[in-house]
């Protein structure tokens, strides 16, 4: 199914089957390494979690395992870039960002180092392991840094496309690579356009702006809203930074309300970015769906998403609530 067909059909997701986006990420990384001798990978012990076993076997001279040492890992990435390589620094998002935040700020963002950070299994993918292993702060932390691009692919097709783009992107980038299974939401002909939100469904009453694993849920919510006679636009905001201000302002001007949804704290992430833009330019009623201001309870990823309303029903209800306010 092509992207245009998806958009026209309004059917939402383009696959029944669910995918772990890490598979698409590693396929793309290995293909790029085969094509370009500058591509290398840096790991922090968790070679399996980052799906790097095949990379290590195929490109042993371009694979660095620094052990359990994230500060060093990000600094090593900056040095590799200084030496003319294009390093992909791959580790669990929770440790890669939180543990190495000063290196991300200074060695990458401030220095404009050509390093790609692949934050694996972000959000609440590690479910029951608890808040130590959740990465729901990362969108707020990374998007405040100048020069650092922040990209959250929604499905395996976009993951592969964003990975391929990242190699030609000059400068540091944080890619959030989902582990939580998601259906495809893009067609096979999808082209990643850095800094552009993707219009997945046209609509005129409300705009649902989602990122990452919430995009398929937003599409499902739009279908449910359509059954109630409500026309919901769906934007996949995969580039969190730089934000597609044009698409967001257009949504604010042409639909009556906006719901944002992300697998991250509701403060400081996508919703925060959209609110910062709109409140200064074109304020409209908004709901920001994400993790509220407390560490989540124990539970599987699936349980926590439902529990916190990060679901199609949660998005649908937020939209209904907003439109009710407007009446």
């Amino acid at each position: 199914m092509s992207a245009t067909e998806v958009l026209q059909s309004g059917a939402g997701c383009t696959s029944q089957q669910l995918f772990d986006c890490r598979d698409a990420y590693i396929r793309a990384l290995e293909e790029m390494a085969a094509d370009d001798p500058r591509v290398c990978a840096v790991a922090n012990d968790s070679v399996s979690s980052a799906k790097l076993k095949g990379f290590r076997a195929k490109f042993p001279d371009r694979f660095v395992n620094v052990g359990i040492a994230e500060q060093n890992m990000v600094g090593v990435g900056a040095g590799l870039a200084n030496g003319g390589m294009i390093p992909y620094v791959c580790g669990a998002a929770c440790f890669l960002t939180a543990r190495a935040m000063e290196q991300v700020k200074v060695d990458l963002a401030y220095s404009k180092s050509n390093v790609k950070l692949c934050g694996m299994s972000p959000g609440m993918a590690y479910g029951q392991l608890g808040s130590t292993h959740h990465s729901i702060e990362d969108l707020a932390w990374t998007r405040v840094l100048p020069n650092l691009a922040v990209v959250v692919p929604a499905d395996p097709i976009e993951t592969a496309a964003a990975m391929r783009y990242s190699k030609v992107h000059e400068g540091p980038m944080y890619l959030r690579i989902s582990r939580m299974p998601v259906p495809r939401v893009h067609g096979d002909d999808y082209e990643f356009k850095f800094g552009k939100a993707v219009l997945l469904r046209q609509g005129s009453d409300v705009t649902l702006m989602a990122t990452g694993v919430l995009v398929s849920r937003a599409l499902q919510a739009a279908s449910a809203l359509a059954a109630r006679g409500i026309s919901a636009r769906v934007l996949n905001v995969s580039t969190i930074k730089p934000l597609d201000e044009e698409a967001i302002l257009d949504a604010a001007r042409t639909t009556r309300a906006i719901v944002t949804a992300e697998e991250a704290f509701a403060r400081g992430g996508l919703g925060g970015a959209v609110a910062e833009l709109l409140v200064q330019n074109h304020p409209v009623p908004m709901r920001i769906l994400g993790v509220p201001d407390s560490f989540p309870p124990t539970g599987s990823a699936e349980f926590l998403m439902e529990h916190l309303g990060l679901s199609a029903a949660g998005i649908e209800n937020a939209a209904l609530d907003l439109l009710k306010d407007k009446r």
Binding site: C40, D61, R62, V64, V66, G67, A69, Q71, N72, M73, V74, G75, V76, G77, A78, G79, L80, A81, N82, G83, G84, M85, P87, E102, Q103, V106, D107, Y110, S111, K112
Partner: protein
């Protein structure tokens, strides 16, 4: 006193000349600190001989006319607060006009209090927070190896700085990958911001620690150009191992009032003190 030699493989200055160049760096750094009323006099002065030997002793293969020459040796100043000495060495070596040193820390200057590689040619890494230089140097050394290129990587750290754990993470990586194209130079002046290192967190036995982390280690007098030159001319210390050179120095070296005084870590010389330093260093304040 400034010289601008383009091209690599520059002549190796004599030890006597290197001492003069180091003293020029000292007085320049102190003048900059006096001018800005901000700076790190103690560490600028302790590191001046090391910088002079690296940049004027024919050690670093760098080319000021092409600061991003891919085959250059990389020098990372991990103790980024000693930018006064570093900038003076870079200017003297021809990376930018020495007159630009007068803008140190002025509004919109390219000479930030801590080095910014996007503002100034010759700077390899943005440093300031401690413990960042060695991981970056390790990454660069790995890049040279991946690319099968012969350039080398030098990193100058403080001694108190080694309290940051990231250094030891990086040291383990350097050892594991046998990075003998990497040389760590420790400016062992024994003083950190608050006190003597040994009163703060004991750093000894420092050489044994580096050795235990798999480095080939040597200790030298960090104020003896001839000894530094000899050491830097014979690297790696041991093939297959990263090198660590502990340069024993005196914080504030060359200005007797500041020597070995913790208060001079970021002490700022007043006009009379600057004049007194110039007399001690045997040269005139340039501006």
């Amino acid at each position: 006193m400034t010289k601008s030699l383009n091209g690599v493989g520059m002549d190796q200055d004599s030890p006597g000349k290197l001492k003069q160049e180091a003293n020029w760096i000292r007085l320049s750094a102190m003048t900059m600190t006096h001018n800005a009323q901000l700076g790190h006099t103690g560490g600028d002065l302790s590191s001046a001989d090391i910088l002079a030997v690296l940049y004027f002793g024919g050690v670093l293969r760098v080319d000021p006319s092409q600061p991003n020459w891919p085959q250059r040796d990389r020098f990372v100043l991990s103790k980024g607060h000693c930018s006064g000495a570093f900038y003076s060495a870079l200017a003297a070596r021809g990376f930018f006009p020495p007159a630009q040193l007068k803008t140190h820390m002025e509004p919109l200057s390219m000479l930030n209090g801590h080095p910014d590689r996007n503002k100034l040619p010759g700077v390899e890494a943005n440093t300031g927070p401690l413990g960042h230089g060695l991981p970056i140097a390790v990454g660069a050394a790995l890049a040279a190896r991946m690319r099968k290129e012969s350039w080398r990587v030098f990193v100058l750290t403080g001694d108190g700085e080694l309290q940051e754990g990231s250094n030891w993470e990086a040291a383990m990586t350097a050892q594991h990958y046998g990075l003998d194209n990497l040389t760590v130079i420790v400016d062992r002046n024994r003083i950190q911001q608050g006190d003597f290192t040994e009163n703060t967190i004991r750093m000894e036995p420092l050489a044994a620690r580096w050795s235990a982390f798999g480095f080939a280690v040597d200790e030298v007098d960090g104020h003896d150009p001839a000894g530094l030159l000899d050491r830097f001319s014979h690297l790696p210390i041991q093939p297959g191992k990263p090198s660590c050179i502990i340069a024993n120095t005196v914080k504030g070296k060359g200005f007797s009032l500041a020597e070995n005084q913790p208060a001079w870590h970021h002490g700022v010389p007043d006009h009379e003190q600057l004049a007194a330093a110039a007399v001690e260093l045997g040269m005139e304040v340039g501006w």
